[in-house]
Symmetry: C2
Subunit: 488 residues, 2 copies
């Protein structure tokens, strides 16, 4: 979930200075018509990890908007009157009227998050609390409240450094609580992943704000608020659980951008490792306990990244009776007449079997998104639907491995040309491939969003540099062996 | 929830015979354009209590529709291939293509219902399963599947009689299972209430079918299917969790129609009981344990039914420092600028206090519905929102008592006239009252729907005949005392 938020996303101070007046202008251009026409009220929820600089970011936002129509409500421990009333009461009490904006620190997510981290509730109770929250927000949205939810994220190491820095400057009381938070970084991040996946809706979207760089962080917050209010004014719905792809002209880096394409394997080393892992895979697939699980392998990647070759190395050691390879191209008539996941459900393997997908349901958020075959709302809801589909599989005990095979733009060109020049490879290159290549950047954004939104703890993505095919094949084989070994 | 389904909605065979060709025509008029244009597929889920005649009803529906484009899928124990795959797989496998209709016996609700009845899962797990189902259905609906869900309901006594009757005629195996079901009537009905409240959505509505009379039952099913398919064709959404208000010209009886208006109390008896219960209420309100709960009393009813008089008898024995009466009329500007429940949340009592509402949030589904102040979708979603609001209160430990005070149309006229004739009562009668009176039937349907949809186990409605005010006042006082006694 936080793949791209983990990256440092930097913005130098000069860029920020230049951007600042534009951001202020955009915020006021969005806020003032709302103040005047009063079509809705806005609640900006500020959540996420302690030490990420939520206070600083809001202070800046506060300074940039029209403060006469903006309140900041902070909720900590329950006080006096609130203690004597149901938990939601204090949020209701402070609900802003139409036209106004409220910034909410310590939102209704705080209690459930804290209870979860300190193990006061189990997973079912956690889910139930999120269901209630979802309904509460749905109701507010139906009653003309725009709910924008921000999750400020810091990697653990950066959180630690920030806290050391703060400690030097501030009162100890403040920092003590934050140090406690650091201890729970992993649990809080996992819970955050779940909260965001389960409660990000068009009417109440989450935005993950990478918070390592204060300038980037504050610009991303301001830009998102301005865009969302403007969209809502025009009757649109802001949909996102990621930061905006571009902030102040700076393209946000995604997980796909970070793949180290220089990794290589020599032939002799490759052959040795290949034999080792194929032998291992053969042994693992022969284990009796395999009959209690099923294995779903998903291969996606840049065109010509070598999906087919990697798959061939995986199936070589397998008994043909226990696997099926499903190359996914255009849907049939029968498939088109049903919900898009039907074509994959019908290929779900029985226990004891492997299903290997050469392209998959992820085409929904890649080619269908980029080429416009799926509408905006359709591919957006697909992230959640895919996560739920994979959860059905893993809850039933299946192993789901997903591989993203990446190559550089240059390497792709080289391979395309080689395919055209080699008679027995010509069928592998089509006009479509050349057309897709022209949209390299759009596909990269789609792939980055996909990994941000569908890398779950139960079905994580494995990013594989395929610039060197040998490296890629070994990484794929090893990952499958590791996952099987862990489970069997 | 099943208030109106508990009533013996009868349809004589002659009416049914006359109606049958109309129903067939309506069904085909809805089905054939769907077959031809293939805008969506339809799934008709048949659930509810065993012995309610689900099989018979479907057999009739089957005969009336075009069977070439209709399949019936029955799911019992998991077989062969399905056992080896995730639970939802078999439903996916059989998903009808666009244009076609599938009748589903043993839907995805069966497992969760059975697990709940046999205590294999706790409440949190039950809720979680419903959340998943809701998402699954939301996804199907987004992918052009119309999901119609029918809950066939029988009161326990009728279920028993029906089973005896079946036993004489059918193979024993069949009946044995049904007798087991009878034992769980209460638990199944409660679970049904919960399932229906939590998973009835515009895109996948539940319809409760009163199944005592086979002709009424089958006519209601057919009419609902025809209407819903027609509505969906016109891009509308069928919204309901009740049977249609009118089936084949027969107005469905609601709980409100069954209130026995002849109940009476003599003056002396009244005074004795009044003193007794007021003394009791005074004692109860003085108990230390009251500080751990709050009391919310809701008074609704026909105009001039005597809400004010009943409230005065309730507050007389109470310490003025611990209660507030909230007469609800038009919302203020501040209230209009916020979600409609805000005006009630701000009046939620602190622990240890009573809040008494003379009219309430229920105006949303009464006057606002009938007079069109709230849009169709807005008052429809209000049922769930209200249930959730009251659940927040009762989960926090509060007691919620809701009274519907009923009088006859004649008695209302008498009281209206008396008010006009009595100087100090003239302020109590307005032109609005006379106007509302003209819509008596519409208000009756709205009140019946309200009671069907918002009578929950945590916040039940008490129906009170107010034709005789003395009777009404005692019933109100006694109910409050009983509820307090139970809790304190």
């Amino acid at each position: 979930m936080f793949e791209s938020a983990r990256l440092p996303q930097n913005m130098d101070k000069k860029t920020f200075k230049k951007l600042e007046p534009q951001l202020r202008e955009a915020l006021l251009a969005a806020q003032l018509p709302v103040v005047e026409k009063q079509p809705f009220s806005t609640m900006i929820l500020v959540d996420g990890l302690d030490g990420a600089g939520k206070g600083e970011a809001v202070a800046r936002l506060y300074g940039w908007m029209d403060a006469r129509h903006l309140v900041c409500n902070a909720y900590g421990e329950l006080m006096d009157e609130a203690r004597l009333r149901p938990p939601l009461w204090r949020y209701w009490r402070d609900l802003p009227p139409k036209g106004e904006t409220a910034i909410v620190f310590g939102s209704w997510y705080q209690t459930v998050l804290r209870d979860w981290i300190y193990k006061k509730i189990d997973e079912d109770a956690f889910d139930k609390a999120l269901t209630r929250i979802r309904r509460f927000e749905e109701m507010l949205a139906n009653e003309d409240v725009l709910i924008l939810k921000f999750w400020f994220y810091l990697p653990k190491k950066e959180q630690e450094e920030r806290l050391k820095h703060i400690e030097k400057k501030h009162a100890a009381r403040h920092v003590l609580a934050d140090w406690a938070a650091l201890k729970h970084h992993k649990k809080a991040s996992e819970a955050g992943e779940k909260i965001i996946l389960e409660t990000s809706k068009g009417y109440a979207p989450w935005f993950v704000i990478p918070s390592q760089d204060p300038e980037y962080r504050d610009a991303a917050l301001a830009q998102t608020v301005a865009n969302a209010m403007k969209l809502k004014l025009e009757d649109g719905e802001p949909h996102s659980i990621a930061a905006p792809p571009v902030v102040g002209g700076l393209k946000r880096e995604t997980a796909v951008d970070t793949i180290d394409l220089t990794e290589k394997l020599e032939k002799s080393e490759y052959e040795e490792l290949r034999d080792k892992y194929q032998k291992k895979l053969s042994d693992l697939s022969d284990m009796k306990s395999l009959s209690k699980t099923g294995v779903v392998l998903v291969f996606q990647g840049n065109d010509a990244a070598g999906k087919g070759g990697a798959i061939r190395r995986v199936i070589r050691p397998l008994d043909p009776r226990i696997y099926k390879v499903h190359p996914i191209s255009a849907p049939t008539d029968e498939e088109k007449a049903r919900p898009y996941l039907w074509r994959f459900w019908r290929r779900v393997p029985a226990k004891g079997h492997f299903a290997i997908f050469d392209r998959s349901w992820y085409e929904r958020v890649l080619v269908e998104r980029v080429e416009g075959y799926a509408g905006h709302d359709d591919w957006l809801r697909a992230y959640n639907e895919i996560n739920e589909f994979e959860q059905e599989l893993t809850d039933f005990g299946y192993i789901v491995c997903k591989f993203w095979l990446a190559i550089s733009e240059d390497e792709q060109l080289r391979r395309f040309k080689a395919r055209e020049d080699t008679a027995y490879k010509q069928h592998k290159i089509t006009d479509d491939d050349w057309r897709n290549r022209l949209k390299w950047d759009q596909y990269a954004i789609a792939a980055g969003d996909m990994i941000d939104r569908t890398s779950t703890h139960y079905a994580p993505w494995t990013l594989v540099s395929s610039e060197d095919k040998r490296h890629a094949r070994i990484k794929v084989l090893k990952t499958i062996c590791d996952r099987l070994e862990e489970k069997l």
